[in-house]
Symmetry: C2
Subunit: 888 residues, 2 copies
């Protein structure tokens, strides 16, 4: 470690470089890189993240670090020809944090270090600017007191305000040198009182204590929370950058600014930024003075501007990415203080990536890797006008992206009625159930107080491409009084509310939205991604409308068409309920015969829309009780419609009640016990295929059996399916291929995949249920628990968002590998919600799946994620080859 503790930079030479971010932090690595490039960077040195990790663990510095720092400091003093704390012309340094991943503002910084009671006078004399010197000293006392010694910031502010009152000063800048000297004395006095020690005059003590404070700031609450929220893991700590101070506040030939090499909001290739004359970096950030557009610097300081343009071009070309640059001009001399890849919107990311390929700056692969797949969501859903003012009254889970404003209703039926009246409606429920499906269709957005990212509301909403905020636990919903309470805010039915499904924000009143426009660059990037990926991308779609959206977004087929959602629409639910109430096989078949034409029409609509693409249709999955009403009123209504007594309905509801419906009588278990249901569904599929084929549509149906846990279940149901297919073929003359396969969503199915594969043409992983059963987590019941588990780091990620590679993923690997041992060409895919999660897509690529399937609005995300996975895979392969070659 001794060799890797301190890295100096300056005078055109540095030991570090941009590849060493893990050790030097992003800032340190880039300062070294720029130094080597000949960019004017104030010299200094970087203390490594390893030192921080050591100090954090052992509560002391690693052995030898103090000598290394002394040596680096001596070198810096020599380069600057000044000494830290010297009575004349003293060297001042900044001490800044800088981790491998940018965590803006989360950790601590100390500026103007090296000043003391003597040095401040030396600085005043040398710069001939006592006001500047005292202002610097009082800032240093304030920062050191706050950051190193924990003296509250407002204690200093208070003294400053007091002095300003005494002197009748309006602004800080109204205070002259004498006033600032007085302020510094008061700061020093207060510091002694608060800390019980005199302000340290020894610059070495100032420096070491500041370094310690920066080390410690790695573990402060803000930083820990930020890392958790941004999923930043596996870093050692922060590096510490000690750098000679340069001053932008030394008069009209000085200044400071921040600039981007391109527009970070739109991506346009235009130099973009702001600057202030006679100011320090803090002033730009603090917003005390309004900065001026960077273009004006050309008039103000033409030479500096010219240099800056040259440097920013050099930096962008060097890093081959849009840069976010901080600079300071001290007395006409330009210094670059920091460069890093600039944060940008999804829109900008896409445009910059595509344009940089045109500029031959980066490869297509690099362009593909430059865009965060999940960020594409921003481009696909209508969004609130970012300029609008918002009053956020609560925050839930961002369950389904999009933005919606509407009047709130608490009941699915009333939602439908209001929608029919032409109102814009937000449906508000404790949680939704399949009975609410009509209301969900009618609503512009859905808000629930319970349930997680994969709750009924969330899944259905995403399927519909509809905005949803779920699990907003702060809300108190009272169905009786039809009110919604969030803190002090109470809303009644009909009041306006807005939901941001991408952030989880619940906003009072109406917020205007802007429509998304997909740019040409977007199209180009997606074309490149499609060419690059190995994984196919399908969609989960239950209606022709879903299919249409998904095809527009590039879906290559349906991976999951749930047949049960169709059961709720219109009059069908009556036939479904007749079927469930039937006490004889005859009666059940009669009711099923009524459903057959509906189902057939559904499939005709879907097949037409998906012309030429494969459609995987899952047979009935939910337990039958989901189709029956639970409350007295609805039961009475059902009894009336059915022409039976309420008791009959109640008895059936009681009979079908299950303690754990997730693990109950559903899926293929229904197909085994009521073969006539699956027979009807298979018949509907094949009749629809025959009808479409006759009209020239190319139909590629795939019939999927849910919840298979044993090979024998699938073998029985495959026989049933083939028999019905054969019958309909005879009746219609239909000759097209029909695949028969199974969901793998019960752990036992994965464990016995070798046997199950004998009866399956394809496997489709139902990762939602597989995750529920593998973890023993009911997604309906453990929303709050899962958040707590992620917060406490018990789980690295919510396994319903990203596939749990170690547990659930291990089962998936078994199934793929062992299934293909039985049947080499076994087609394997994913149809759980994970199909739209970029990390999960990468995992699916890694284990060799053929496709992923996700809700229509996530299709572009999956396409891009799949391309990135393919690129990472080939890079990995190339690396292996290289290291093998080297090994020879």
């Amino acid at each position: 470690m001794a060799d890797k503790m301190v890295f100096s930079f300056g005078g055109g030479k540095a030991r570090g470089d941009a590849t060493m971010k893990a050790l030097l932090g992003g800032k340190g690595a880039n300062l070294a890189e720029m130094t080597n490039l000949g960019i004017p960077v104030p010299p200094g040195f970087t203390i490594t993240t390893e030192c921080c990790a050591y100090a954090s663990k052992h509560k002391k510095w690693p052995k030898g670090l103090d000598q290394k720092v002394k040596k680096a400091l001596a070198k810096l003093e020599q380069q600057m020809n000044r000494k830290l704390g010297a009575a004349t012309d003293p060297l001042l340094v900044s001490v800044r944090s800088g981790a491998a991943v940018s965590m803006p503002g989360m950790m601590d910084t100390v500026l103007n270090l090296g000043l003391n009671d003597k040095a401040v006078r030396g600085l005043a004399a040398k710069t001939n600017n006592p006001r500047f010197a005292w202002d610097s000293y009082r800032r240093f006392v304030m920062m050191f007191g706050n950051v190193v010694c924990g003296v509250a910031h407002d204690k200093f502010e208070h003294l400053m305000d007091e002095l300003k009152r005494e002197r009748g000063a309006q602004k800080d800048t109204d205070l002259d040198a004498a006033a600032l000297e007085e302020l510094t004395q008061r700061f020093l006095k207060m510091f002694r009182k608060e800390t019980g020690e005199a302000f340290p005059q020894d610059p070495w003590q100032q420096l070491t204590r500041s370094i310690d404070a920066v080390f410690a700031s790695w573990d402060n609450d803000r930083a820990v929370t930020y890392r958790r929220l941004n999923d930043i893991r596996g870093l050692l700590g922060t590096a510490v950058n000690v750098q000679a101070m340069v001053f932008g506040n030394m008069g009209p030939t000085s200044g400071t600014g921040v600039c981007f090499t391109r527009n970070p909001s739109t991506g346009e290739n235009l130099f973009y930024g702001e600057f202030l004359v006679d100011a320090q970096g803090e002033d730009v950030v603090a917003g005390i003075r309004t900065p001026r557009p960077i273009a004006e610097l050309a008039n103000e300081m033409p030479k500096v501007y010219e240099q800056l343009v040259a440097y920013k071009d050099a930096l962008e070309q060097h890093y081959t990415d849009m840069q976010d640059i901080e600079f300071t001009v001290q007395d006409g001399r330009l210094y670059i203080l920091q460069t890093r890849s600039g944060k940008r919107t999804a829109k900008a990311a896409v445009r910059i990536a595509v344009e940089m390929v045109a500029e031959k700056c980066i490869s297509k692969d690099t362009a593909i890797l430059r865009v965060q797949p999940a960020s594409l969501d921003q481009l696909l859903h209508p969004d609130f006008d970012p300029k609008a003012e918002k009053k956020v009254i609560a925050k839930g889970l961002p369950a389904s992206p999009g933005a919606a404003s509407g009047r709130i209703y608490f009941d699915a039926d009333e939602t439908e009625e209001a929608n029919a009246r032409g109102e814009k409606v937000i449906l508000v429920r404790h949680e939704t159930s399949p009975e609410d499906i009509g209301g969900m269709h009618a609503a512009r957005g859905i808000l629930t107080a319970r349930g997680g990212m994969t709750s009924h509301a969330a899944v259905v909403a995403r399927g519909m491409g509809k905005c949803c905020v779920a699990g907003c636990e702060k809300l108190e919903i009272d169905y009786a009084t039809k009110t919604l309470k969030a803190g002090d805010t109470v809303l009644k039915q009909g009041d306006w509310l807005s939901l941001n499904g991408s952030t989880g924000e619940v906003i009072l009143g109406q917020v205007p939205t802007v429509d998304p426009q997909l740019s040409d660059e977007f199209g180009t990037l997606m074309k490149w991604a499609d060419a690059r990926r190995r994984l196919k991308v399908r969609t989960n779609a239950d209606t022709p409308k879903d299919c249409n959206v998904a095809r527009r977004f590039g879906a290559e087929g349906i991976g999951l068409c749930r047949t049960e959602h169709m059961f709720f629409e219109g009059d069908r639910i009556i036939a479904v309920r007749e079927m469930i109430l039937a006490s004889t096989l005859e009666a059940r078949k009669k009711a099923l015969a009524k459903l057959l034409p509906y189902q057939r029409e559904d499939f005709v609509g879907i097949f037409k829309e998906m012309d030429g693409l494969p459609c995987t249709i899952r047979l009935l999955d939910p337990p039958l009780h989901e189709f029956l009403p639970l409350n007295d009123e609805n039961q009475a209504e059902m009894a009336k419609v059915m022409g039976v007594s309420v008791d009959v309905v109640k008895k059936k509801v009681a009979e079908l009640h299950e303690m754990n419906p997730m693990l109950g009588h559903r899926g293929c278990r229904l197909g085994i016990t009521y073969p006539e249901i699956y027979e009807m569904q298979v018949r509907a599929i094949v009749e629809a295929a025959a009808a479409c084929a006759k009209k020239g549509t190319k139909v590629v149906p795939e019939i999927m059996h849910p919840l298979i846990g044993t090979a024998r279940e699938l073998s029985i149901l495959r026989d049933l399916t083939e028999r019905v297919i054969g019958e309909v073929r005879k009746e219609t003359g239909y000759r097209g291929d029909i695949l028969i396969g199974t969901m793998i969503e019960v752990p036992r199915a994965a464990l016995t995949a070798a046997e199950i594969a004998k009866h399956a043409d394809f496997f489709s992983f139902g990762t939602n249920d597989l995750t529920q059963m593998t973890f023993g987590f009911s997604r309906d019941d453990t929303g709050a628990l899962l958040s707590a588990y992620v917060d406490q780091n018990i789980l690295e990620v919510d396994p319903f968002r990203t596939v749990d590679a170690r547990g659930v993923g291990r089962l998936m690997r078994f199934a793929v590998d062992e299934g293909r041992e039985t049947k080499k060409k076994l087609k394997c895919g994913v149809c759980g919600e994970h199909g739209g999660d970029p990390k999960s897509v990468a995992f699916c690529d890694e284990i060799g799946l053929d496709y992923v399937s996700c809700s229509p609005y996530r299709v572009p995300i999956a396409r891009l994620a799949a391309a990135q996975a393919a690129i990472h895979a080939s890079n990995k392969k190339a690396d292996k080859k290289k290291s093998k070659k080297r090994g020879k």
Copy 2:
């Protein structure tokens, strides 16, 4: 196959032997064996099971079989010096089924084959007994008509009754030769009418068609059902035995009988059996005449008796097992028609096995293998007097063995009250819940209409060693009118009912019981078993009383002590509910402090009882809502006791409600979110251990965390546990070892066992939950489905009864192997109900577990099963060695 189609026996020589049961069936193999032993067996030949399998598959005989049969028949005719169907002195044969495993009465038999219109007169002349000849012919026509041609049996009976009426005959034997000739003519006429063909006169046709009928009877409904119910699998088919007829009905020097070499009911070593003079085998079975005790044969036919005794001794010694022998005496000459290992009661099995070792007839290993572990149940629970008459009104699942009579009550509280009044009570419920625990304690037996072998009622009842019949779906229970309906029988509260928990029978009224007496032989056998087994056997026990029973039955520790059952007793439930209602940590800790002394006393009681043996105590597992009342009345009562409003109770109940409690907020998830609960429990355990240790009890506590799914959960809870242990050690000076381990009951735990093992001293497989989650079967909801699955052969066995080796067992193997890779000495056991299932015990032995744990009454079963597993394992090893040696 050509060489393996027909095996002749006779004249002291046979090609087959007793080892060839798979091919010749049990009967055929033993006929061959006896022939080779020089035992007088009527000669004949056996057609193999492979021929049956071929015929069943191809609907025709394998090529060459007819030639082989012809040749064997010719040989038989030569040996007997008679010809089949000859006009003078014809040969008659029997055609009998006989599979590898005895399936008494399930398949078909044709006797007296070879008779026709001419041969009957030849037989009459030769025997000088026309009545015998015509009686034989009419029996043959009847059997052939029924078995081969499917003419209903009662059509023949009807003609017989008619003739008897015409002739004024009371009994069959009142019909003389002429009458029987007339009857035969009527049979033949009716046969022609029913079948459209004349009765076949060609003896070859008679024979081949009879052989076909016996082949076909392998697949008749009765036989298929019998195999399913008796778990008989993997057999090819039935063999067919064609054997010369001998007749016990040829006068006073003839006779027939059935005997056992020892008493099959008690095991006593006394010749046991029955015989009839001048009768055929059928007559003994049909019960037309009362047979006489075998001892009387010594007077009746002293020479025959002497021979019979010699043969039975020879056969028992030869087979080294108690034999069930059929014999016929024809005109003073003794023939043995069949020998097989005799069925016996558990009591007899134990006695015979132990005595045969004393007689140096078999080894101890063989003795251990001779007793069905599950049959020991019969010896442990009081049982209904087998002599009593019973009216069975319904049949459910034999959920917990034992016999109980009592008055029925439908409510747990009323059950307790009735019990307090001194009534014997049977608790009848749709299904039980933890709220019923008091009533279950008070009841002598529990009857439920829903739920399977591992339902709440079943598990708790077995734990209590209490009789339970579960899932008796035929019952209609009406809580409102307090009535129970089973078919036409309606019972009111207070009516008497009896339950047989070993058979699932629900019996009207009271049935007297007899108490079990454990014999010395039982003790001896168990001692041998203990010496032979590798697996330790522990018990699942929650109370000192359970512990006491289990120790008496030989338990070597507690594998699972559930702490939550204690929560329901007496006043504790109030403190538990206070804890749940608590809205602050403080309030919760206060309520927990009230529970602490109770829990400590529980553990003191258990530790004392288990002095010197390890006790694995599982921390709180069920979701908190299980402790709250669900109905209005009980909620009101709770509110009153708690001093809160009903709304508070209702709100908490609603808040804690879960859609799928099985996969919800329970187990270690409670320990993570409410650490104070586990802290209290750990403290209670360690304080109890300290108190006991001070009084000289040897305490070996093991603390077990339930529902672990991630290594991090266990690491957090291990820290908590160690911290509290450390605190109590400091306070009490207790120094004894305390192991900390985990249940493996979530699939993910098994999949990530390598990591979890880092934090565990032991793994205990919770095979109930592991099976639920691996299959996605809620045991509360899928009772009926599972029965259907077993019936339809989708599942070979109920996975809640016997560990599913392919799926669940695969996870167990992963966990054991990978856990021990991390920690070589990791102790592994099973604490699910499977620990008491012999097949599962064998599986546990195979995968290298250290112990199994089961309910107290199953401990002897597990001990014996473990010994059998060890014997099978060493036999397998020896076989491997042998075949390796041979290989060299």
